[in-house]
Symmetry: C2
Subunit: 407 residues, 2 copies
């Protein structure tokens, strides 16, 4: 028999208890302003313990007083309300797109405090040039927001595999084995952003971050499949509020799920992959707009909205292929919902009907309702929001680690 | 922003620490015989704490002395070795197959201490009759093993959905909405097995339990896709050592993943499902053996081993379809391995080559090696072993809960 799960646990300790309780208390404030007494009542901790934990969180700049607490019905003065400190540690996000760069700052509460975007074609461009441009955007958005970031996460249109901070393959950029975190750190230093160069830098796949943004900022369930398109088609599988990354970090390659196994050859080498039916190039070709250029999503949305039947038919065909692939994924994974995100969200009006029809026809051994398929309200802002938001969520989830890193 | 994960935590407590440490210590013994001093060294707990925890585990019948400990190189007498008690609480498993019933007992160490099987066609049979037969098997195997089970889990060839203990749909039995746990409890009481009737009874899908058996008893990785066939095709998705059950418990319906979307109509209502290419009826038809009867797996294996080319071709075609479906699942989930289990394991010689070829051709955006696809050594014993083993693993993972339930 293998080791039981409990063997991997560490013995419980006083330090472990304090760490867990710091997170428990900060988690309460993450749900909104409240008094120390409110937190004691909600957590079962004593008022003295809560006060001591709040002092520690306050010293770390994580919570701040925000006025008198609402009357609670409890005996005694209502006390002072505290909340996550909007001037506390922030989340810095970056995005490398095929046709753009972007950067944003969210505060500890998750509110967007700065957003910059620059249209630039990064296809085949040298990584050092791309990262120099991104570093400048990050420096500028961070300086304007006047907050201290606790970390930086960058969304990339490619596979981020076993080696941390390295893009294993980004076909549309022409990158492979590219140490993006290290390169960005150098670019930030060269741009005079020394404080940013010293941050923890994480690199993640844009589809993963888009899915996490939907989890954190959307109002849907905690088990869903998020299907998005930029240059390729990516999926994020969220199970019980956690992203399923796979054994080696490659999960979510829905674009290469075989839709018609004898179909056209895909650049990946296989036949009939979903991307051959619903990817950028396939849809543009079917729409009579091959190689249409910078913003294929906006172009298709404009044409479809204007009544272009060829474009509408191309989108319906793409929706049907997405529906076949999604039906396979739903039968396999049993998510509570499927969310169409990224560029697809802006095309949802023309993709969803055919996609719904395929799901209805093919998901029959378990209940399925057409309402469980929807378009993300975040659209193409998802990956960058996910990048920045993840930084502050990590602080809130384990404030002791943040405080220790600061010390 | 949603609630952070930490908000769901409970405040850490002394009782929680003791509970965690009981599990930590018992987990050490689950890895093999060792002394109290060995456990103290491995866990970081003091010897006094370990002794106190061992006393509690011993009083609950979970660990027992098993001779002098091996010399450790540490100062002092080597002490006495302890191990999981082979006479301690056992796991009782039952299995309802379409053409058989079975029951087994494993001891706390996971060793099989009793196994009974009865061939009987359960197609369309009244649940009460089936459960009466199963209750007699369970009573007899349990009496012969002379161990006290801590619980009973039953493997069923059907969907076990939201309602605990209830089989939502078992098409091959003709059951729907059947309260199997309650019916079995009554049948056990009627069979004079009052102690068994008082046990916690769980019902689970056979494919899930087969996958868990592979996780617990196999020597593969902790992230894999387990594909098995009894009457239908089922999959178990294991991620990080845990079974992915899905939002409503329906995950793993690989049999209804669309393989050729325009293919033949499936009884489920959809077209071109995997079962139309690799399910029992489809393979038997292609092999020229429609409606072949009791043990289709043994029949096909015999014919294929004997050189029957039609049967071999039918199995190769099934393997190719399994490969297309598995390629989709691998691209989506990124497992470290795919394991062919249940009846397929006995047909692996003729299924694997075509399945490997499809996986090699279709899993290209991430590394894939043919060796990562293999046949389970457990074969058709998997679901029943998984049922019984899960009971004792639950005891080892949380001994405090078991001790409390006994008190």
């Amino acid at each position: 028999m293998r080791e039981t799960e409990s063997r991997r646990a560490q013995p419980a300790s006083q330090q472990g208890m304090r760490r867990a309780n710091l997170a428990l208390v900060l988690g309460e404030f993450a749900a909104g302003p409240r008094s120390r007494a409110d937190v004691a009542a909600a957590t079962g901790l004593t008022r003295a313990a809560v006060s001591s934990l709040v002092d520690e969180l306050s010293a770390a700049g994580l919570v701040a007083e925000c006025g008198p607490a609402a009357p609670s019905g409890r005996v005694g003065r209502p006390g002072t309300a505290l909340a996550l400190d909007p001037q506390g540690p922030a989340g810095l996000g970056g995005e490398i797109g095929v046709e753009h760069l972007a950067a944003c700052v969210v505060d500890l509460r998750g509110e967007v405090r700065g957003w910059r975007r620059r249209d630039v074609s990064n296809r085949g461009r040298r990584p050092a040039e791309v990262l120099a441009d991104l570093a400048a955007l990050l420096r500028d958005v961070s300086a304007a927001a006047r907050l201290d970031p606790a970390g930086l996460t960058v969304a990339v249109p490619g596979l981020v595999g076993a080696t941390e901070g390295t893009v294993e393959r980004a076909a549309n950029l022409g990158w492979s084995g590219e140490p993006v975190a290290e390169g960005l750190r150098q670019a930030l230093a060269a741009a005079g952003a020394d404080a940013l160069a010293a941050l923890p830098i994480e690199i993640d796949n844009e589809a993963n971050l888009g899915g996490l943004a939907e989890l954190w900022l959307g109002d849907g369930p905690e088990d869903f499949l998020h299907v998005s398109a930029e240059a390729g088609i990516g999926a994020a599988i969220v199970v019980g509020g956690r992203l399923l990354r796979g054994a080696r970090g490659y999960a979510g390659e829905l674009g290469h799920l075989p839709v018609h196994p004898d179909g056209p050859r895909c650049p990946c080498g296989a036949r009939g992959c979903l991307e051959q039916y619903a990817g950028e190039a396939a849809v543009l070709l079917a729409a009579g707009l091959p190689g249409a250029g910078d913003d294929w999503v906006a172009l298709l949305a404009d044409r479809a909205a204007g009544g272009d039947e060829l474009v509408r038919a191309a989108l319906a065909a793409a929706g049907a292929a997405l529906g076949v692939a999604a039906a396979g994924a739903v039968n396999l994974l049993d998510p509570a919902a499927v969310v169409l995100g990224g560029g697809y969200a802006e095309l949802a009006e023309w993709l969803l009907p055919a996609m719904r029809a395929e799901l209805a026809a093919r998901v029959t051994v378990r209940p399925w309702s057409g309402e469980w398929l929807s378009a993300s309200a975040l659209g193409r802002r998802g990956p960058l929001l996910g990048a920045a938001t993840g930084v502050v969520r990590a602080v809130v989830a384990d404030p002791a680690r943040f405080a220790a890193a600061e010390a």
